[in-house]
Protein backbone atom coordinates (compact mmCIF):
# COMPACT_ATOMS: atom_id res chain seq x y z
CA UNK A 1 0.00 0.00 0.00
CA UNK A 2 1.37 3.40 -0.98
CA UNK A 3 0.16 6.78 0.22
CA UNK A 4 0.25 9.67 -2.23
CA UNK A 5 -0.96 12.83 -0.51
CA UNK A 6 -4.57 12.19 0.49
CA UNK A 7 -4.89 9.15 -1.77
CA UNK A 8 -4.06 5.57 -0.83
CA UNK A 9 -2.94 3.17 -3.56
CA UNK A 10 -3.41 -0.54 -2.89
CA UNK A 11 -1.24 -3.18 -4.52
CA UNK A 12 -2.28 -6.67 -5.65
CA UNK A 13 -1.56 -8.25 -2.27
CA UNK A 14 -3.77 -5.72 -0.47
CA UNK A 15 -6.62 -6.48 -2.86
CA UNK A 16 -6.19 -10.22 -2.35
CA UNK A 17 -6.30 -9.76 1.43
CA UNK A 18 -9.48 -7.67 1.10
CA UNK A 19 -11.15 -10.30 -1.09
CA UNK A 20 -10.39 -13.02 1.47
CA UNK A 21 -11.67 -10.89 4.36
CA UNK A 22 -14.86 -10.05 2.49
CA UNK A 23 -15.51 -13.77 2.12
CA UNK A 24 -14.63 -14.54 5.72
CA UNK A 25 -13.65 -11.82 8.18
CA UNK A 26 -12.79 -14.45 10.81
CA UNK A 27 -9.71 -15.69 8.91
CA UNK A 28 -6.58 -15.37 11.05
CA UNK A 29 -3.42 -13.62 9.85
CA UNK A 30 -1.77 -17.04 9.57
CA UNK A 31 -4.61 -18.47 7.48
CA UNK A 32 -4.49 -15.49 5.12
CA UNK A 33 -0.68 -15.75 4.97
CA UNK A 34 -0.92 -19.45 4.08
CA UNK A 35 -3.45 -18.78 1.32
CA UNK A 36 -1.35 -16.00 -0.20
CA UNK A 37 2.04 -17.53 0.53
CA UNK A 38 3.30 -14.70 2.72
CA UNK A 39 4.33 -14.24 6.35
CA UNK A 40 1.55 -13.62 8.87
CA UNK A 41 3.45 -10.56 10.11
CA UNK A 42 3.17 -9.05 6.62
CA UNK A 43 -0.57 -9.76 6.58
CA UNK A 44 -0.90 -8.20 10.04
CA UNK A 45 1.00 -5.10 8.95
CA UNK A 46 -1.10 -4.61 5.80
CA UNK A 47 -4.41 -5.14 7.56
CA UNK A 48 -3.40 -2.72 10.31
CA UNK A 49 -2.59 -0.03 7.77
CA UNK A 50 -5.81 -0.58 5.86
CA UNK A 51 -7.77 -0.29 9.11
CA UNK A 52 -5.91 2.89 10.09
CA UNK A 53 -6.69 4.49 6.73
CA UNK A 54 -10.38 3.53 6.86
CA UNK A 55 -10.15 1.17 3.89
CA UNK A 56 -11.40 -1.60 6.15
CA UNK A 57 -14.25 0.17 7.91
CA UNK A 58 -15.46 -2.60 10.22
CA UNK A 59 -16.02 -6.32 10.71
CA UNK A 60 -19.52 -7.56 11.31
CA UNK A 61 -21.66 -10.68 11.55
CA UNK A 62 -24.29 -11.23 8.85
CA UNK A 63 -27.33 -12.50 10.74
CA UNK A 64 -30.09 -14.53 9.15
CA UNK A 65 -32.93 -12.79 10.97
CA UNK A 66 -35.56 -15.28 9.81
CA UNK A 67 -33.61 -18.18 11.29
CA UNK A 68 -33.09 -16.11 14.42
CA UNK A 69 -36.88 -15.89 14.71
CA UNK A 70 -37.22 -12.19 13.95
CA UNK A 71 -40.17 -11.29 11.72
CA UNK A 72 -39.48 -8.24 9.62
CA UNK A 73 -40.54 -6.84 6.30
CA UNK A 74 -38.38 -4.92 3.87
CA UNK A 75 -39.63 -2.36 1.40
CA UNK A 76 -38.16 -0.31 -1.40
CA UNK A 77 -39.34 3.26 -1.50
CA UNK A 78 -39.11 5.80 -4.30
CA UNK A 79 -39.63 9.28 -2.96
CA UNK A 80 -40.39 12.03 -5.46
CA UNK A 81 -39.34 15.42 -4.16
CA UNK A 82 -39.11 19.05 -5.08
CA UNK A 83 -35.56 19.29 -6.47
CA UNK A 84 -34.44 22.03 -4.11
CA UNK A 85 -35.61 20.03 -1.06
CA UNK A 86 -34.09 16.71 -2.13
CA UNK A 87 -30.83 17.03 -0.18
CA UNK A 88 -32.62 18.21 2.95
CA UNK A 89 -35.12 15.32 2.77
CA UNK A 90 -32.32 12.79 2.25
CA UNK A 91 -30.50 14.12 5.33
CA UNK A 92 -33.67 13.76 7.40
CA UNK A 93 -34.30 10.22 6.11
CA UNK A 94 -30.73 9.18 6.93
CA UNK A 95 -31.45 9.76 10.62
CA UNK A 96 -34.22 7.13 10.82
CA UNK A 97 -33.08 3.70 12.02
CA UNK A 98 -35.75 2.11 9.76
CA UNK A 99 -33.88 3.38 6.70
CA UNK A 100 -31.15 0.88 5.81
CA UNK A 101 -29.97 2.26 2.48
CA UNK A 102 -30.45 5.64 0.91
CA UNK A 103 -29.48 7.05 -2.45
CA UNK A 104 -30.67 9.46 -5.09
CA UNK A 105 -31.06 8.65 -8.76
CA UNK A 106 -32.15 10.35 -11.91
CA UNK A 107 -34.19 9.00 -14.80
CA UNK A 108 -37.00 11.32 -15.88
CA UNK A 109 -36.79 13.18 -12.61
CA UNK A 110 -34.63 13.22 -9.50
CA UNK A 111 -35.84 10.76 -6.87
CA UNK A 112 -34.66 9.43 -3.53
CA UNK A 113 -34.49 5.64 -3.17
CA UNK A 114 -34.67 4.07 0.25
CA UNK A 115 -34.63 0.52 1.55
CA UNK A 116 -36.57 0.39 4.78
CA UNK A 117 -37.29 -2.24 7.39
CA UNK A 118 -40.29 -2.60 9.66
CA UNK A 119 -41.90 -5.17 11.92
CA UNK A 120 -45.07 -5.43 9.83
CA UNK A 121 -47.17 -3.64 7.21
CA UNK A 122 -49.19 -1.45 9.63
CA UNK A 123 -45.98 -0.19 11.24
CA UNK A 124 -44.38 0.39 7.83
CA UNK A 125 -47.39 2.40 6.73
CA UNK A 126 -47.46 4.41 9.97
CA UNK A 127 -43.76 5.20 9.58
CA UNK A 128 -44.23 6.46 6.02
CA UNK A 129 -47.46 8.33 6.77
CA UNK A 130 -46.26 10.04 9.94
CA UNK A 131 -42.54 10.46 9.38
CA UNK A 132 -41.89 10.71 5.64
CA UNK A 133 -45.01 12.07 3.89
CA UNK A 134 -45.12 15.19 6.16
CA UNK A 135 -41.54 16.21 5.29
CA UNK A 136 -41.67 19.50 3.36
CA UNK A 137 -40.93 18.95 -0.33
CA UNK A 138 -42.15 15.33 -0.54
CA UNK A 139 -44.35 15.17 -3.64
CA UNK A 140 -45.38 11.51 -3.63
CA UNK A 141 -44.09 8.11 -2.58
CA UNK A 142 -44.13 4.71 -4.25
CA UNK A 143 -43.43 1.69 -2.06
CA UNK A 144 -42.90 -1.96 -2.96
CA UNK A 145 -42.79 -4.57 -0.26
CA UNK A 146 -40.12 -7.22 -0.88
CA UNK A 147 -41.77 -10.64 -1.05
CA UNK A 148 -38.78 -12.83 -1.94
CA UNK A 149 -35.03 -12.37 -2.19
CA UNK A 150 -33.19 -14.19 -4.96
CA UNK A 151 -29.77 -12.84 -4.15
CA UNK A 152 -28.30 -10.72 -1.40
CA UNK A 153 -24.67 -9.69 -1.21
CA UNK A 154 -23.63 -7.98 1.98
CA UNK A 155 -20.44 -6.59 0.49
CA UNK A 156 -19.57 -5.07 -2.84
CA UNK A 157 -17.46 -7.34 -5.03
CA UNK A 158 -13.88 -6.15 -5.66
CA UNK A 159 -13.93 -6.44 -9.43
Amino acid sequence: MKIKGQRVALDDLDWQILRLLQENAKLTYTEIGNKLDMAHSTVYDRIQRMEEHGIIKKYRAVVDLEKAGLQQIMALMTIYTEPKESEHIANKLAKFSEVLELSSSFSEELVINAKVVSQDQPKLHAFIAHSIAPLPGVLRIRTSIITKKYKEETSQPLL
Binding site: A75, M77, Y80, Q121, L124, H125, I128, A129, H130, I132, A133, P134, P136, V138, L139, R140, I141, R142, T143, I145
Partner: protein, 112 residues
Amino acid sequence: MTVSPSRFLRNVLREEAFYFFTSIGNYTGQSASSLDEFLLKIKEVNIKSLEFHLYREDFEKWIAQTLGDAKLAEDIKGLRNLKVVGNALRDRLYFVVSRRLKDLKSMLQPSK
Protein backbone atom coordinates in the same frame (compact mmCIF):
# COMPACT_ATOMS: atom_id res chain seq x y z
CA MET B 1 -68.49 20.65 28.56
CA THR B 2 -69.30 21.57 24.96
CA VAL B 3 -66.53 21.92 22.42
CA SER B 4 -66.57 24.98 20.20
CA PRO B 5 -67.16 24.18 16.50
CA SER B 6 -64.13 26.33 15.72
CA ARG B 7 -61.97 23.59 17.19
CA PHE B 8 -63.26 21.12 14.59
CA LEU B 9 -62.74 23.66 11.82
CA ARG B 10 -59.19 24.69 12.73
CA ASN B 11 -56.06 24.10 10.66
CA VAL B 12 -53.81 21.47 12.19
CA LEU B 13 -50.02 21.26 12.09
CA ARG B 14 -48.31 19.70 9.09
CA GLU B 15 -47.44 16.60 11.16
CA GLU B 16 -51.10 16.20 12.14
CA ALA B 17 -52.53 16.58 8.63
CA PHE B 18 -54.26 13.74 6.80
CA TYR B 19 -52.05 12.18 4.11
CA PHE B 20 -53.83 10.31 1.32
CA PHE B 21 -52.38 6.95 0.27
CA THR B 22 -53.69 4.46 -2.30
CA SER B 23 -52.17 1.43 -0.54
CA ILE B 24 -49.52 0.65 2.08
CA GLY B 25 -46.70 3.16 1.61
CA ASN B 26 -48.03 4.69 -1.60
CA TYR B 27 -48.56 8.37 -0.92
CA THR B 28 -50.54 10.31 -3.53
CA GLY B 29 -49.01 13.67 -2.68
CA GLN B 30 -52.39 14.96 -1.46
CA SER B 31 -52.99 16.00 2.13
CA ALA B 32 -55.54 17.93 4.18
CA SER B 33 -54.84 20.17 7.16
CA SER B 34 -58.45 21.06 7.95
CA LEU B 35 -61.98 19.83 7.44
CA ASP B 36 -62.46 22.38 4.65
CA GLU B 37 -59.40 21.07 2.85
CA PHE B 38 -60.46 17.49 3.52
CA LEU B 39 -63.74 18.16 1.71
CA LEU B 40 -61.92 19.54 -1.32
CA LYS B 41 -59.62 16.52 -1.46
CA ILE B 42 -62.56 14.11 -1.40
CA LYS B 43 -63.40 15.43 -4.87
CA GLU B 44 -59.81 15.27 -6.13
CA VAL B 45 -58.05 12.17 -4.82
CA ASN B 46 -57.90 8.81 -6.54
CA ILE B 47 -60.96 6.75 -5.62
CA LYS B 48 -58.62 3.94 -4.52
CA SER B 49 -57.34 6.26 -1.81
CA LEU B 50 -60.83 6.87 -0.42
CA GLU B 51 -61.54 3.13 -0.36
CA PHE B 52 -58.16 2.36 1.20
CA HIS B 53 -58.60 4.82 4.07
CA LEU B 54 -62.31 4.28 4.70
CA TYR B 55 -61.93 0.55 5.24
CA ARG B 56 -58.80 0.99 7.38
CA GLU B 57 -60.87 3.38 9.54
CA ASP B 58 -58.28 6.09 8.96
CA PHE B 59 -60.84 8.85 8.29
CA GLU B 60 -62.75 8.17 11.50
CA LYS B 61 -59.55 8.08 13.54
CA TRP B 62 -58.20 11.34 12.12
CA ILE B 63 -61.50 13.18 12.49
CA ALA B 64 -62.11 11.90 16.02
CA GLN B 65 -58.57 11.94 17.39
CA THR B 66 -56.96 14.87 15.60
CA LEU B 67 -59.86 17.21 14.83
CA GLY B 68 -61.87 16.00 17.83
CA ASP B 69 -65.21 15.75 16.00
CA ALA B 70 -66.83 12.57 17.35
CA LYS B 71 -70.13 13.30 15.56
CA LEU B 72 -68.59 13.35 12.08
CA ALA B 73 -66.42 10.34 12.92
CA GLU B 74 -69.58 8.42 13.81
CA ASP B 75 -71.26 9.47 10.54
CA ILE B 76 -68.29 8.21 8.55
CA LYS B 77 -68.31 4.96 10.48
CA GLY B 78 -71.93 4.54 9.36
CA LEU B 79 -70.81 5.04 5.78
CA ARG B 80 -68.16 2.36 6.17
CA ASN B 81 -70.77 -0.04 7.42
CA LEU B 82 -72.77 0.48 4.21
CA LYS B 83 -69.77 -0.95 2.30
CA VAL B 84 -70.04 1.51 -0.58
CA VAL B 85 -67.20 1.75 -3.09
CA GLY B 86 -66.22 3.74 -6.18
CA ASN B 87 -67.86 7.02 -7.06
CA ALA B 88 -70.83 6.21 -4.84
CA LEU B 89 -68.39 6.30 -1.92
CA ARG B 90 -66.93 9.62 -3.10
CA ASP B 91 -70.39 11.17 -3.42
CA ARG B 92 -71.64 9.90 -0.06
CA LEU B 93 -68.47 10.87 1.77
CA TYR B 94 -68.64 14.33 0.21
CA PHE B 95 -72.26 14.67 1.25
CA VAL B 96 -71.60 13.59 4.87
CA VAL B 97 -68.61 15.89 5.32
CA SER B 98 -70.15 18.90 3.54
CA ARG B 99 -73.35 18.57 5.61
CA ARG B 100 -71.32 18.55 8.82
CA LEU B 101 -69.21 21.48 7.65
CA LYS B 102 -72.34 23.47 6.92
CA ASP B 103 -73.73 22.69 10.39
CA LEU B 104 -70.48 23.61 12.11
CA LYS B 105 -70.21 26.88 10.21
CA SER B 106 -73.80 27.79 10.99
CA MET B 107 -73.08 27.21 14.69
CA LEU B 108 -70.36 29.83 14.42
CA GLN B 109 -72.79 32.47 13.09
CA PRO B 110 -73.89 34.95 15.77
CA SER B 111 -77.54 34.29 16.69
CA LYS B 112 -79.97 37.00 15.55
